[in-house]
Amino acid sequence: MKRIFMAVIILIALVGSASLIFAEEKSKTEVTAPGATEQAKSAPLAPAAPATPAPPKIDTGDTAWMLISAALVLLMTPGLALFYGGMVRSKNVLGTIMHSFIIIAIITVQWVLWGYSLAFGPDVGGIIGNLSWFALNGVGLDPNPDYGATIPHQAFMIYQAMFAIITPALITGAIAERMKFKTFLVFTLLWATLVYDPIAHWVWNVGGWIHNLGALDFAGGTVVHISSGISALAAAILVGKRKGYRVEPMAPHNLPMTITGAAILWFGWFGFNAGSAIAAGRLSTSAFVVTHIASAAAAISWPLVEWIYKGKPTTLGAASGAVAGLVAITPASGFVGAMPALLIGFGAGIFCYIAVVSKNRFAYDDSLDVVGVHGIGGTWGALATGLFASKAINDAGANGLFFGNSALLGIQALAVVVTWIYAFVVTFILLKILDWTMGLRVNEEEEESGLDLSQHSETGYNF
């Protein structure tokens, strides 16, 4: 088993290196044409070149903003690591952090080799991209008119890479404290390829079928939050409950760490949402502002509901509320105004709180509430987009129900349901296969001693 594993690794390395060398030898120029962009533009173009059509001009403001946004979104993944890390027991803190941290590494490689090509590459049947952009072949520094006409294509690619990274990291909250590290690595690679890349293609590729139905998802409500939230449900069911769940105390071991993580997520989310304007100017400002408003509103409503129903508002509630608000505003951020954002955020705090406390009625152990916060929050956000979207905010979008167009809500609902079903089913099958071949869980002794020791031979704290 180990030898086969090693052989496969070496084979992949050889194929990978071969294609890298091959790709570098090919010329990196791509066909550029002065195409119309879908986003609001900021900088004026320089006088056009004479005979041939002028290539799209790179705007330094847009490019600077996109590179910064990419860095902001990257920071969200270590932020998530801290958010989750503080909520598990201390014997699992490193194992939990490692999940997120190592995903940065492996999904980066997956993305630049084949992930980006599948998601954003030339469309095949509205379903998936082809592999012509394997190893970033054809992904150069000239803008791609479909994906950021004023920024280098690689800036768009690297920005999207950060989304591809954080999405599988979200799922790890559901399987915290009990999954085998080896299996987790294989699962992550396969999930990214079979679930994330296709759904991203459907919603964000200019040829994607959900995109062409007119569904609106500005920064990843369906692509990131619903897909990971529902996949987390499948994972929680198949991996099974933690030993001692609901019997032994499993309180968060370091809430200051969790709150720090939540704050980093909030900060980074400005890159996630406002960066999705793929330009710096009016739309990115609008998205920035509504993102902040929604998060603040949810950070009020969650603790408020706690205060009423449980007697005290909690810091974990305030942090969780803020995150829930950010999740909900994500798909809506480029399409709604400030007051709708307030309502969306306020609603998110309430709906996600209810979802989280209702978890106990069902038999699954979604340890860190990925389903309740990301699955339900993303669903609320996607549907709320169908209610509150306004072409006055973004004329490349559409109007929602409250702005005179009842059709959008139905399309949003369709996108939501399709994502639920596809993500759940594929994740379920994937985990079933991995359970038969590799096993999903650590054994009882390993779970008892903690992932830090059993999977990584480390202790988080050596006071």
Partner: protein, 112 residues
């Protein structure tokens, strides 16, 4: 020689230490422990999940004293550690067979 073991409320440590110094007891061993007697624990809530924490943090003070000093020491600790509320703690007196000062090799009461 007797060992006097006292479980007290953590915030009372400074007061008890000062009171013992006042009756010429200079050395002690202090540890952080958890426990409960009649004092109920407290409730913590995380995302709606309630945890009843029964084990309450306490401080354990151990002093080894000569037989003649035992009564004085017990009274001193009891007075300094008392608040009158549930959870004040308990004092135990146990016999000690031998004491050695490591630096000099002294034994018995002189080593205390």
């Amino acid at each position: 020689m007797k060992r006097v073991e006292a479980i007290i409320k953590p915030f009372k440590l400074d007061e008890v230490k000062a009171a013992l110094n006042a009756v010429a007891i200079q050395g002690m061993t202090v540890s952080e422990v958890r426990g409960f007697g009649r004092q109920k624990g407290h409730k913590e809530v995380y995302r709606g999940a309630e945890y009843v924490v029964e084990l309450v943090p306490k401080i354990k003070i151990e002093v080894v004293v000569a037989d003649q000093a035992v009564t004085r020491v017990v009274e001193t600790i009891a007075k300094a550690a008392k608040t009158g509320k549930i959870g004040d703690g308990k004092i135990f007196v146990l016999p000690v067979e031998e004491t050695v000062r490591i630096r000099t090799g002294e034994r018995g009461d002189g080593a205390l």
